[in-house]
Amino acid sequence: MLSLAKLSLVTFACAAAPALGAAQPSAAQPTQPFAPQQGEAAYAVSAPHVLVDGKTVVHDALVVVENGKVREVLDAKQKSKADGLPVVAHDGWISAGMIAARSHLATRGEVEEPKRALNPQARILDVVDFGHPELQAALRAGITTVVVAPSNSNLIAGQSAIIKTHGRTVLDADAHLVLAPAASALRLNREPTSYPGAMAMLEREFERPSGAVADVAAGKLPVLLEVEGRDELARALDFAAKHKLKGALSHASLAGELAADVKKSGLSAIVGPFGPGTAPRPLDSVLALAKESVPVAFGLEFGSAPEELRWSAVMCARRGLANDHAWNALTSHAAAILGLEKRVGTLRAGCDADLVLWSGPPLELTSRVKGVFVGGVHVWGGQQ
């Protein structure tokens, strides 16, 4: 049974928990997750197991939420600290919300400019539909933070954004500039038409940088380097070194075969999704990157189901990636890659109270999401 059904018993009668009262926002007034006047609200969620991050599990724990943030996670001995707070009881596991480090969610396919290869000022946020059911689906799968990026079909594809899957919360309106010096961006009807042409165009943009490219050149804006094969990867790494780019490689399914070079570049890797039947090489590549301690996170494809994110991590775990590493790739490592490690990805004190309530250990495919809180607001599951 859904233990969250207890929600209604324990807290909804309690005036001190406006956060939970906001669980059913009226359609006309969507989402101010935590209005300032609700700032004093504090409550706790109890569970037999709380996964603070990949390595830390607190048993018989209480997650104390205040002002939409995690105040602290208490173990059995410290529970008295939460005396007097209303408690939501859950009988499974609690973890931080997962992060899709690359996706095209809620864009309705508006992810590429079909005629122009260079779009440094294009912002994906302009096409994000916050009411799109894909975001709700992601939320229900336990994904609370997503990077929405333009596709890899233009040399300079545009700027990505980082949003929460609930509440129109924008964490970063211009998170990366997406560069795709790859076959995916070559066309016959517009430049670039070839690899050398693509690199030449990119170099030209970086010689006299302006706008977003200038921010990238100045090290103020990270890049998302969309590459596939090993040759593309090698070129991209050279280019990144030359211009001192920061950010992450995206796709690059065989990056692990050049793990040492990737490590040297300081770039992270966003991989996947890995569907059923993924060949061994991309999976082994993830293991190799992890071995070199290159930060790895998982992404979704256009049309991917959100379940694919956790599935990808489980595939890697089956292949030999340590469970804590697999979990961190879904959460804290992804947050670190996005520069948001103080805000999302773990349940450490001060982080957003993005809680996922699971029926069992989160990395077990037999476990399911039973409830989700975003910014301390109960947004899905339980009595709904």
């Binding site: 689906a137 039947g277 049309g303 694919e308 599935w311 595939m315 089956r318 495919l365 476990s367």
Partner: protein
């Protein structure tokens, strides 16, 4: 017809009597006696009848012949034999004339055997050395668990299971926390030639064994085995209307596909696709009708064959009666004839032999190898796996199931099967699902029907089978993870285990070989270090056909 001619010749040659009966009757008599002078020309005899049941206890109507034979065949012969026995008859019928002409039918047969892409593995390859597995927990079947048992494997088969079983000295013993039967992927495309996928020329008698790469890289097989999956069902053209005869093969790295095959004709595959016919609803309906019409066609063929059988029996009886009549009245007839001859001579008129009216021999329906397969399908000898997703298609399938009660239908895919759960349960139609973690909310696209579908169907009493869906050959490796997903969405672990072992074995008629860890079964075992559907569980070793194929 040509075969009849040859019999005629034989008949006359062998018949010493010179009873003055008309040629037709003589031939019939010879025909009736055919088995008696078998060495001369018996090879042709069974050719009259596709399923080789001529003269056997098959006089009854449709219900009679093949259903009665079925268990005998399945029980007594190894899988490799079966199709051969059946297909072996076909060329004989076709080549009867040639054989008659050049009289070397045996050589012909030999040639045919050599041409076959899937020769029977005779003599059997030497089996691996005996093995013993010591299991803390053994799933004999999903509903039968034993603890602290030893499984003894000899000659590729399970020789003993029990707590008191001791491995003989010198026999290698493996240890494992949990042991199950090898998983069977009921819906795979492993090793399938990509060109076969969408080949519309595939016909019902096309065999999957001809469409798989027999030399598939053993690394891929090991890759899948490491997931705990030991066998897979594959069909010739998964994306066309008629997918031909499916096969259940093993992921045995040391053997060619046909050598380790569990069944080379486990199912007939039909596919109802919404993609065909485009937006035109009538065209789509016509397509559905056309595909499911295959079962009706098979039924019609079966009826033709049975009608022929009856007509032939009636004709034979009539001939026999006539012969008896002639034999009995022989003296009188001779006297009458002599008298008539004498009379004619006396009168100076011409003597006329009495004419006997010849009953026309019934004509056998034209042999058609595709319709032979369809007939087996319509008669329930061969399960029919129908891939269908939309409600309209599933409804059409249910109608077929009601109409052709003997047919053993299996619904594959079934994205919208939810609302038909009750009917599927009533009609005992198993549903083969491929729970996919992807694409289930994409607007407008037909998806896997949601991960909860397996649990909901199971709840309604439908027998659920799980497969990897055949989208990617290597997806078979991830079948246990897909099953975990289904478990996460409400399917009981017991049902999930059954969906990967006993159920596919039963549905595809290989339960006497695999699917459970019982004495006499072939040894396909997976050794885990924990419960099979837990993410942290690793496959430690895999035994396939008695051979240790994966070892930590």
């Amino acid at each position: 017809m040509l075969a009849i001619a040859s019999l005629l010749v034989c008949g006359f040659a062998a018949e010493p009597a010179s009873v003055p009966v008309s040629p037709a009757i003589g031939a019939a008599a010879a025909f009736l006696n055919a088995p008696a002078f078998a060495p001369a020309c018996s090879a042709e005899v069974p050719a009259f009848d596709g399923d080789g049941s001529f003269g056997g206890p098959s006089a009854g109507p449709i219900v009679g012949s093949s259903a009665g034979q079925d268990p005998v065949e399945k029980g007594d012969k190894p899988a490799g034999d079966e199709p051969k026995a059946k297909e072996g008859d076909k060329p004989k019928a076709k080549d009867a004339a040639d054989k008659d002409k050049n009289g070397k039918s045996k050589d012909d047969e030999k040639d045919e055997k050599e041409d076959k892409p899937k020769p029977k593995p005779t003599p059997p390859k030497p089996k691996g050395p005996p093995l013993a597995v010591r299991a803390d927990k053994l799933y004999v079947r999903p509903d039968r668990v034993l603890e602290g048992v030893t499984v003894l494997i000899e000659d590729g088969r399970i020789a003993a299971v029990g707590t008191d079983v001791k491995a003989p000295e010198g026999v290698r013993t493996l240890q494992a926390k949990v042991v199950t039967a090898g998983f069977i992927d009921g819906w795979s495309s492993f090793a399938l030639d990509p060109a076969a996928f969408g080949d519309e020329r595939i016909s019902p008698s096309s065999t999957a064994l001809d469409a798989v790469d027999p030399y598939v890289d053993a690394r891929w097989e090991r890759e899948v085995l490491r997931g705990g999956v030991t066998a897979y069902r594959v069909q010739t053209a998964p994306r066309t209307r008629i997918g031909g005869l499916g096969a259940v093969l093993r992921f045995h790295p040391g053997k060619l596909a046909h050598e380790s095959a569990l069944s080379s004709d486990c199912s007939l595959a039909l596919t109802l696709s919404s993609a065909r016919g485009g937006d035109d609803v009538f065209e789509r309906a016509a397509d559905t009708e056309r595909v499911l019409g295959a079962i009706a066609d098979g039924w019609a063929y079966l009826q033709e064959k049975n009608e022929y059988k009856h007509e032939l029996a009636a004709w034979e009886k009539a001939i026999a009666d006539k012969q008896k009549e002639l034999d009995d009245g022989f003296k009188k007839a001779k006297k009458d004839r002599e008298k008539a001859q004498a009379d004619a001579k006396d009168k100076g008129t011409e003597f006329k032999e009495k004419e006997y009216k010849e009953d026309k021999k019934p004509k056998a329906p034209r042999y058609d190898e595709d319709r032979e397969v369809l007939a087996r399908a319509a008669n329930g000898e061969l399960p029919v796996v129908v891939e269908a997703h939309s409600a309209v298609q599933i409804r059409a399938l249910l109608e077929s199931a009601r109409k052709f009660k003997r047919a053993r239908l299996v619904l594959a895919g079934g994205a919208e099967a939810r609302r038909f759960a009750k009917e599927l349960a009533e009609l005992r139609i198993p549903v083969l699902l491929a729970p996919q973690p992807m694409g289930f909310y994409v607007e407008g696209a037909i998806s896997s029907g949601g991960l909860g579908l397996a649990a909901e169907l199971e709840e309604a009493g439908v027998e659920v089978l799980l497969g990897s869906g055949g989208a990617d050959g290597l997806a078979s490796r991830d079948l246990p993870l897909l099953a975990s997903l289904a478990v996460g969405h409400g399917l009981s672990p017991k049902a999930a285990l059954a969906a990967l072992t006993t159920r596919p074995a039963r549905v595809f008629d290989i339960a006497d070989k695999v699917g459970s860890v019982e004495i006499g079964r072939e040894a396909d075992l997976v050794l885990f270090d924990g419960e099979p559907f837990a993410a942290a569980t690793k496959v430690k070793s895999v035994i396939c056909g008695g051979d240790l194929v994966v070892e930590e």
